[in-house]
């Protein structure tokens, strides 16, 4: 079986800062993979490379066996259209009302796009009363849900979630986790989620991979997470300050 997404040796450097140092990773069709890792380890950069928003310096990225690095113009747009992406901050267009946000990638009459927006909002548990509101007038949790509705509106084959629960209260976080799990199961979508929230990872993941210092240092099924035998994973999963991962702290 060809992997839906396969990364080999993906590297990316910004200025003098080497963010990714050869990421090897495969996501199988219909699977929910979660990448865990500390802030600033390059998780967002990794998915932006897959999406073609950032061009990696080296390495290969294949989607369904087809190389996608270096795509341009129409081919790149077609590639990007296969993905739905939930951005870290939601990235809703604040100049447009909710319904235009959700139906942004859809075509058709105003009535049909509004109806489609309402459908997708219902899927994430929002009523049609929010259709005409501006994103800025919504709470953080509602914004995330609207962004989720927008990400699934065009029925993409692959969904990316960038820190879907960051900044939400624990209950709302669990609502979002449930939604993601349901979407993946119901729509049979391949999902790649980035998070540093372990309860979220446990809920969403079939498989977990850990990104540390620019490469994947461990991967395994969700059940193997607690017995990974990897001290880095152990420290991260249990949220300990002591361990092999050192935070670059300076006394003020």
């Amino acid at each position: 079986m060809t992997a839906r997404i396969a990364l080999r040796g993906v590297a990316k450097q910004f200025g003098a800062k080497q963010v990714l140092r050869g990421v090897d990773l495969a996501v199988q069709p219909g699977e929910s993979l979660v990448i865990i890792g500390g802030s600033g380890t390059g998780k967002s950069v990794t998915i932006k490379c897959i999406l073609g928003l950032i061009r990696p310096d080296a390495g290969s990225i294949k989607v369904d066996g087809r190389e996608v690095t270096g795509l341009k113009g129409r081919a790149l747009a077609d590639h990007q259209a296969r993905f739905g992406m939930l951005f870290q901050g939601g990235a809703l267009f604040d100049s447009l009302p909710v319904w235009r946000n959700v139906s942004f990638a859809l075509s058709g009459s105003v009535a049909s796009r509004r109806a489609a927006a309402a459908d997708n909002l219902a899927r994430v548990g929002l009523g049609s009363d929010v259709l005409d509101l501006r994103p800025s007038s919504l709470s953080g949790g509602m914004q995330k849900r609207v962004a989720l509705a927008r990400a699934i509106a065009a029925r993409p084959e692959i969904l990316f979630f960038d820190e879907p629960t960051t900044g939400l209260d624990p209950i709302m976080a669990d609502v979002i986790n449930d939604l993601i799990r349901t979407l993946v199961t119901d729509l049979k979508i391949t999902a790649l989620t980035i998070t540093h929230d372990m309860s979220s990872a446990r809920k969403i993941a079939d498989r977990v991979a850990m990104l540390y210092e620019g490469s994947i240092i461990w991967q395994g099924s969700r059940d193997e997470l607690d017995a990974s035998g990897n001290p880095y994973v152990d420290q991260f999963v249990h949220g300990r300050a002591d361990g092999p991962i050192k935070m670059p702290l300076r006394t003020l």
């Binding site: 928003l53 990007q80 990235a91 809703l92 990638a105 065009a154």
Partner: protein, 264 residues
């Protein structure tokens, strides 16, 4: 430090600045070529274009109009004072109309619109960049060059000449108001002389300048906004840079066009 090393350091610093300048011009030129290349091919977004025409054209009218009116009056007053020394105070209408239409109308209009519009564009696009809305556009099958920046550039190029026409008219009117109200000019004679001295070429060059300024204003707003990074502070820097660079490009291109059109 010895004088030689000081000199060497100075040369290195100068070299770095020059290289940086050329690199910046290169990046900007590439951006402009990409932008123009994209916006001549569909999809087009007429609703976006219309909105930008309104924002740039209509809402700039008050500030551009007032600037022209006040400057026209002040100009007439100074020409009168200067002219009186050579017994040539009758040149007020002729010099005012030439000064306004050839230089001050387009330049001051351009600077005012740059202050209003280039900053707003940089702030808006910059905020969209740092909040990942530009990435979101791309993943939603929408090219930010065509959807966001193309309409802004086209709207600015179309609206600036119209704004400058209004600016010219109000500038001349400012001169006329002051000359007839305070300096004792005969109204009909003033307007007659104005019409006599105003050539079609002056109006054309004025509109060409306006279109060029419009292009630079929108280009600077979009370029700096699109390349902003680093949160709110980055957006602030982008806004400042957009206005300053638009000012410089307006003044420089004005000089070049003036020398080409009127210098020979």
């Amino acid at each position: 430090m010895s004088p030689v090393t000081t000199l060497a350091h100075a040369l290195i610093a100068l070299g770095t600045v020059v290289i940086g300048l050329f690199a910046a011009i290169g990046r900007l030129a590439r951006f402009a070529v990409t932008l123009v290349g994209r916006l001549v091919r569909p999809p087009w977004y007429p609703a976006q274009l219309f909105e930008q025409m309104l924002v740039i054209g209509w809402f700039s009218l008050p500030v551009v109009g007032l600037t022209a009116l006040f400057t026209g009056s002040a100009l007439a007053q100074q020409i009168y004072i200067g002219g009186s020394r050579f017994n040539a105070s009758s040149t007020v209408p002729a010099v005012t109309v030439i000064g306004i239409v050839r230089e001050l109308g387009p330049v001051l209009g351009g600077l005012m619109v740059a202050g209003r519009v280039a900053s707003a564009m940089a702030a808006e696009i910059g905020t969209m960049r740092v909040t990942e809305q530009i990435d979101a556009l791309t993943t939603l099958r929408t090219d930010p060059f065509r959807y966001l920046m193309g309409p802004r550039v086209v709207a600015a190029v179309l609206m600036m000449p119209l704004l400058v026409l209004v600016s010219n008219a109000l500038g001349v009117m400012g001169g006329w108001l002051l000359a007839t109200g305070r300096l004792g000019f005969n109204s009909a004679a003033y307007l007659n002389t104005t019409a006599q001295f105003l050539k079609a070429d002056d109006v054309w060059s004025s509109m060409v300048k306006a279109a060029v300024f419009g292009f630079f204003i929108a280009l600077m707003g979009c370029y700096h906004g699109y390349h902003s990074s680093g949160g709110a502070a980055g957006v602030g820097r982008a806004t400042t840079n957009a206005v300053v660079s638009a000012f410089i490009l307006i003044l420089l291109s004005n000089l070049i066009i003036t020398v080409i059109v009127f210098g020979s």
